[in-house]
């Protein structure tokens, strides 16, 4: 579900920073911890506020999804001079109907998730809307893989 970019454009980019962060599934105890960490990291790299905010936002939505629905997962961050790429890979129940899950307002959230202020069926839509490129794949009983790319482009103000 790419929003119009060929993958080889990305692979030509040499990584300036690359790291994986584990995310605990099935609990909100540390939910958002990885996103805060990544936001601080990107801020230290002196990326523009706009890029940092969008990257943090899509990371946070993806992290909340892992905390809400998966057994465990990890968030992989890759920064190049042109892109911030965030991948959220989880082991969990997977998504049966991706098209349905992408619809604004559709949610399978439990009461516990809703109590935290989530589960309005906006997560994947937000991720798609705030990313320049977004891809989702999922396998029932195995897990879900999200890939989000934020373009640095003219906002890039040096690392």
């Amino acid at each position: 579900m790419w929003k119009g970019l060929t993958t080889n454009v990305l692979s030509h980019d040499a990584a300036i920073y690359e790291n994986s962060f584990p995310v605990e599934g099935g609990t909100f105890d540390n939910a958002g911890h990885v996103s805060s960490q990544i936001k601080a990291l990107l801020t230290r790299m002196k990326l523009s506020k706009k890029v940092v905010r969008r990257a943090a936002l899509v990371t946070y939505e993806a992290e909340i999804n892992i905390c809400s629905y998966a057994n465990r997962g990890r968030i992989h961050l890759r920064v190049t001079p042109e892109h911030v790429t965030v991948e959220a890979i989880d082991e969990g129940q997977g998504i049966a109907d991706i098209e349905l899950a992408m619809q604004a307002g559709y949610s399978t959230a439990t009461e516990r998730i809703r109590e935290m202020g989530f589960g309005a069926g906006m997560g994947l839509c937000n991720i798609k809307n705030f990313s320049d490129f977004f891809r989702i794949s999922s396998e029932i009983g195995k897990g879900t893989h999200l890939k989000m790319v934020i373009r640095i482009d003219k906002d890039f103000d040096g690392i």
């Binding site: 909100f28 805060s36 936001k39 936002l57 589960g119 309005a120 069926g121 997560g123």
Partner: protein
């Protein structure tokens, strides 16, 4: 308007961010649903909410929210306060309900960070 003026208008108690009361704010967003906050709130805005869990702080951090106004006298847990201190996000508690809180700020010049979701849906 400064956070100090916001505090006075709302007769609010400052739980976190006594050192940030000079911060300037012009816009606000109000919701109890963090999913909507993530979709619509803009950087530098006030967040008016009745939710008090740590996710409110995480959400505010991600969005560069200027300060959180907890309405209806809701008090956050020590865990929430600790996280706000760590991430330097001011928390003010007011006894006014969400509607009154928004109305009082609006009449003093604070406007919504988005007016309508159909004409200002710039994902930035």
């Amino acid at each position: 308007m400064t956070l100090r003026e916001v505090k006075d208008i709302l007769d609010a108690e400052v739980l976190v961010g006594h050192d940030q009361l000079g911060k300037e704010v012009k816009t606000a967003f109000g919701a109890d649903l963090m999913s909507d906050v993530l979709a619509f709130a803009k950087a530098g805005s006030l967040l008016l909410t009745g939710l008090t869990n740590p996710q409110v702080i995480r959400t505010s951090d991600v969005l560069d929210i200027a300060a959180i106004i907890m309405v209806r006298g809701k008090r956050p847990s020590p865990e929430t306060i600790r996280l706000a201190e760590e991430l330097h996000i001011p928390i003010l508690v007011t006894q006014y309900i969400l509607f009154e809180t928004a109305g009082k700020l609006y009449t003093k010049g604070i406007v919504g960070c988005v007016e309508r979701v159909d004409d200002e849906r710039a994902f930035s």
